[in-house]
């Protein structure tokens, strides 16, 4: 069974006078443990696809199955529960909460999952060690470099051990050195079994993936395997 299946997935944005078709009847599947890079020019629908896969946006028609569940049939609350236990997000602009420290930002998904304090703190500390962020754990996001912020964002995305990570241009705001660092992190997570879907403009970032999907005007125009196992 695939981790993700979309069948004729369509998304239309209705503006005041115009309507924009963002995704045109897309059929797209991802197996568990895969690392997929979604590429294409600006406005081709990459981020829209990612948002729908992450259940933070609705689609107009078609079906979406996540781990065998028809997401279209789920209520908002059920989608939230499904999301928080199974999906981690990494954004281009990090989207860390400025009022929370590094530790608290990473801790947040576990709080929403209702973890008790002791295991929660253990898990966060473990991750901080792994991400080499322990010495920065009490800092606020504005006190960190871009690379450090994205490492925190990745840590927050994986803290609950989700089987799937959705990354939207994770290196877009980073210099090449820090970008490399983040990509290696994602690569190692994938090697540990986490499925990753990453939207990117960067060929270099895409080279870390196993499969590259090219989108153009809301359609998948090309799909190819990137590297061998």
């Amino acid at each position: 069974m695939n981790l993700i299946d979309t069948i004729r997935l369509e998304k239309i944005f209705h503006g005041d006078a115009v309507q924009t078709i963002a995704l045109r009847k897309i059929n797209f599947s991802v197996k568990a443990g895969d690392f997929v890079a979604v590429m294409g020019p600006s406005g081709c629908g990459k981020t829209t696809l990612l948002n729908i896969l992450g259940m933070i946006d609705n689609w107009t028609s078609g079906d979406y199955f996540l781990m065998g569940q028809n997401v279209g049939l789920l209520k908002e609350k059920q989608r939230t529960n499904l999301r928080k236990s199974n999906i981690g997000f990494v954004f281009q602009n990090f989207n860390l909460i400025e009022e929370l420290t590094v530790f608290e930002n990473i801790e947040l998904p576990l709080q929403y999952l209702g973890w008790k304090q002791k295991p929660r703190h253990e898990r966060v500390n473990e991750l901080l060690e792994k991400m080499k962020l322990s010495h920065r754990k009490d800092r606020f996001p504005v006190q960190l470099s871009g690379g450090q912020q994205q490492r925190v964002a990745v840590a927050r995305a994986v803290v609950a051990n989700p089987p799937l990570i959705l990354a939207d241009e994770p290196t877009g705001n980073l210099d090449s050195m820090h970008g490399e660092e983040v990509m290696m992190l994602l690569d190692s997570l994938n090697k540990e079994g986490t499925t990753i879907i990453m939207v990117t403009h960067s060929q270099r970032d895409a080279s870390y993936s196993r499969r590259i999907v090219h989108l153009f005007d809301g359609q998948i125009i090309n799909e190819n395997l990137n590297k061998l196992e």
Binding site: I56, N58, K77, L108
Partner: protein, 813 residues
């Protein structure tokens, strides 16, 4: 998780100090005003609610009905209490308290103790049962025996503190100008807010026997408040009917015995003691009574002020949600449920509300002395907060904090919860979404509500001010200027010296005229039963009377319509001559008044010798009423002195020097007639003060809100402003563009306020016999004031941003 909410909330508020400060100041001011109004209302509601057996305690009121007219008065004859207790087993207790005009602030008695003199504003008489009905706590003495003996006096703890300053008061001897008293009790009045107004109570047994006998006989001498306590099972309606029948029988016998024939009918009614404070319809009633509808208006004002303050918070929070949308979006993506987000917002709101609330409590405590001065009350925040027998106040305040937190935090949370995480994550970049998130429609509605309250308060203040100015400048029908009123001490030594003092005063160069009198304009003496010969049957009428000296009319420049003044008469027995005002002549239906036989019931040989123009003998709340003037030179209560222009301040020390020459112990009290008349409108002046300060608060709170809101929204438009400037927009055009939306809202708020204020203030004006008419000027001026304040508020912010170089503005995100 809860700790986390607090931690984040506090950090967030600390990071945005300006925003937090604006919210806290606005909310604190709102809560301060709310608590002040609440304290006032709570105090009013507590009146007469704590008496022992209050549910079975009633005051008896009287109603005179004659032809079409009827008059409700709070007074009854002295004998009524005794009649009821002796003849009706259901009357468990009955007592009476003598009427002294408590609105007459100058009517003070001087009490001497060990050569020192103290002024006690209100000493009243009552019988020995008084404390069985009104169970004041006794700090000294015992209620059962306190008023048994003649010349015993019970004083309030305030009076005791002033005179004895911590020493034991019980058994001490106090002298007034009338007699010597022994202190038999000290009571604590603070525990029982009540319509009863007295500083000291004297046993009725102190009255001379002759006077007491007259009081015990008379069925129509309305001189006391009568209170009764009924047994629990009494059918009040049935009892009222039976005791009225009983009284009517007694009155008939009395009239036959006295050979009197009174036109009209006298009936009695029972009024629950707990409702007395809210009855303003009776004559001779407590001046501290309040109109219940005024209290309701104050309650509504309090609620609206609080609403105004919390709207600031909501408006700023929803406006700020544009900025916070990304954070909330992230939280949603990470799995936060709706409830968790609502709790997050409510926690932040709770932090701000709690800080504001604590600051408000401190501010209220600090400002309470000034507020008490304004209201003439003794309100105490901590007494109300920690009242052991009635936790309603503190419960209400706790509900207030929770309510404000939920309302203030829940509303923006609810607004944000409507949006999808993607919309929120893009909130700063997609203009259409941003507009949605900023919810301008609801914010406009909330700003409109704020300005309806603000403009309403400004309009009301203008109207109250105009009405009081109108009363001050109203032609009263007599000349009140340069008239000094001196209280005459009532001891025999002083009384004997008064004629001599008057003679010496008349010789002062600074004095134009002197008149000894028992009554001065503005203060009612009461009613007497008069008989006019023109009416064949039922010729008796109760009419207001003034006992005045011969110079009364000339001193006050009251014009004569026909006949003569008292001082123009010579030879005949002046005690049987009466002067009437025009209203009394109309009331009696006399075609030709002069020479008409007219007298007090029980006397004969009197006639009407003069008719004077109508003048306002009482407050302008009431119309001119029929009034009979009785010449009375003996035992005056006051000396009125007409001073030369600008000499008033000189006359007082001159008279004091003359009085000192006599070497008497009693002192003289001076007050100008103008000041004395102003005291009639003390309640209205208080209202003006309250409206004025509340208006200031509300307008300031609203302006604060508008400043915060406009700052925030103008900041969001920085880039747009830069583009407009590049395209040629002038600073003035841009300021106008930024302000006009708000000004339109203020104008709209003003227009919808007009009918509301028109209705409410007309209701208030109906309480005056003489009133201004509400014209468009009040409304236009109030709206203009509000527009000016709103424009200035927005201008401060927009001026700064429109002055910025376009290159800088264009860089804004």
């Amino acid at each position: 998780m809860t700790g986390n909410y607090f931690k984040i909330g506090i950090r967030l508020l600390l990071r945005q100090k300006g925003y937090t400060l604006l919210n806290i100041i606005g909310l604190t001011l709102g809560i301060v005003v709310f608590i002040f109004i609440l304290l006032y209302l709570e105090n009013e509601i507590r009146y007469d609610k704590k008496w022992i057996d209050k549910d079975n305690t009633y005051r008896i009121t009287s109603r005179f009905t004659s032809e079409e007219k009827h008059e409700n008065i709070a007074l009854t004859p002295f004998r009524l209490a005794n009649d009821l207790k002796s003849n009706f087993p259901e009357v468990k207790e009955a007592t009476n308290l003598f009427f002294t005009d408590p609105s007459d602030a100058n009517d003070v008695a001087t009490i001497s103790w060990k050569e020192r003199k103290f002024e006690v504003p209100d000493i009243s008489l009552c019988d020995e049962n008084f404390f069985n009905v009104f169970d004041y706590p006794f700090l000294e003495g015992h209620p059962d025996s306190a008023l048994l003996n003649a010349n015993s006096i019970v004083i309030s703890s305030e009076v005791a503190a002033e005179i004895f300053q911590g020493q034991l008061a019980l058994g001490q001897s106090l002298q007034t100008s009338l007699r010597n008293y022994t202190v038999t009790g000290v009571i604590d009045q603070s525990a029982h807010p009540s319509h009863l107004n007295f500083d000291a109570l004297v046993s009725v047994n102190s009255l001379p026997d002759e006077q007491k006998t007259m009081l015990e006989r008379d069925h129509f001498w309305m001189t006391c408040y009568t209170y009764i306590q009924l047994v629990d099972t009494t059918d009040v309606l049935d009892f009222s009917y039976r005791f009225n029948e009983f009284q009517r029988k007694g009155e008939r016998i009395y009239l036959q015995d006295e050979k009197l024939d009174i036109e009209g009918n006298l009936s009695y009614h029972l009024e629950p003691v707990s409702q007395i404070h809210f009855n303003t319809a009776l004559l001779y009633d407590s001046p501290t009574n309040v109109d219940l509808s005024n209290l309701i208006i104050f309650g509504i004002i309090a609620a609206f002020i609080l609403l105004t303050a919390s709207i600031n918070y909501i408006n700023l929070a929803t406006a700020r949600s544009i900025k916070r949308s990304r954070e909330i979006g992230v939280r949603k993506v990470l799995g936060a449920s709706r409830i968790q987000l609502v709790v997050q917002y409510i926690t932040e709101s709770f932090i701000i509300t709690s800080i504001s609330f604590l600051m408000a409590l401190a501010a209220v405590e600090w400002l309470t002395p000034q507020y008490n001065k304004l209201l003439g009350k003794k309100l105490n925040l901590f007494d109300s907060l920690f009242s052991s027998d009635d936790p309603a106040f503190v419960v209400l305040l706790i509900v207030l904090v929770i309510g404000l937190s939920v309302f203030g935090g829940g509303f923006p949370a609810f607004m944000l919860n409507r949006y999808k995480p993607t919309q929120m994550l893009q909130g700063n970049t997609l203009s259409t979404e941003k507009k949605q998130l900023s919810t301008p429609g609801i914010r406009h509605l909330l700003v409109t509500v704020q300005y309806v309250v603000s403009i309403g308060m400004i309009m009301s203040t203008l109207i109250v001010y105009a009405q009081l100015s109108f009363l001050n400048n109203h032609e009263l029908g007599f000349n009140k200027e340069n008239v000094l009123v001196v209280n005459v001490p009532q001891d025999t030594v002083s009384r004997r010296l008064i004629p001599e003092l008057i003679k010496k005063t008349e010789l002062l160069e600074t004095v134009m005229g002197v008149c000894a009198t028992q009554n001065v304009p503005g203060f009612t003496a009461g009613k007497l039963l008069f008989q006019s010969d023109t009416n064949a049957a039922g010729s008796m009428q109760t009419i207001n009377y003034f006992r005045v000296g011969p110079q009364f009319f000339s001193l006050l420049e009251i014009p004569l319509v026909s006949g003569s003044y008292f001082n123009e008469l010579s030879g005949s027995d002046t005690s049987t001559n009466y002067i009437l005002n025009e209203a009394a002549v109309d009331f009696l239906g006399l075609d030709s008044a002069i020479g008409t036989p007219f007298d007090q019931v029980g006397r004969s040989g009197g006639k009407i010798v003069g008719v004077v123009s109508n003048f306002n003998s009482s407050s302008l709340h009431r119309n001119v009423e029929p009034l009979v003037f009785i010449l009375s030179e003996a035992n005056p209560r006051y000396i009125m002195i007409k001073c030369e222009d600008g000499q008033r301040d000189q006359v007082q020390p001159d008279i004091n020097s003359l009085w000192a020459e006599f070497g008497t112990k009693s002192g003289l009290h001076f007050i100008s007639l103008e000041e004395k008349l102003e005291s009639l409108y003390r309640g209205d002046t208080k209202l003006l003060g309250l409206f004025f300060y509340f208006s200031l608060f509300v307008v300031f709170i609203s302006s604060l809100g508008l400043y915060g809101l406009s700052s925030f929204l103008i900041q969001q438009r920085t880039r747009e402003i830069g583009i407009r400037r590049v395209l040629g927009g002038s600073q003035n055009q841009l300021i106008l563009m930024l302000s006009k939306g708000y000004l339109r809202l203020v104008l709209f708020s003003g227009l919808i306020t007009i009918p509301l204020v028109y209705y409410l203030m007309n209701h208030w004006l109906d309480g005056f016999a003489y009133q201004i008419s509400l014209h468009a000027g009040f409304f236009v001026v109030a709206i203009l004031i509000a527009l000016l304040i709103a424009f200035t508020t927005v201008l401060i912010r927009s001026f700064k941003i429109t002055k910025e170089q376009p290159a800088v503005s264009l860089k804004a995100q």
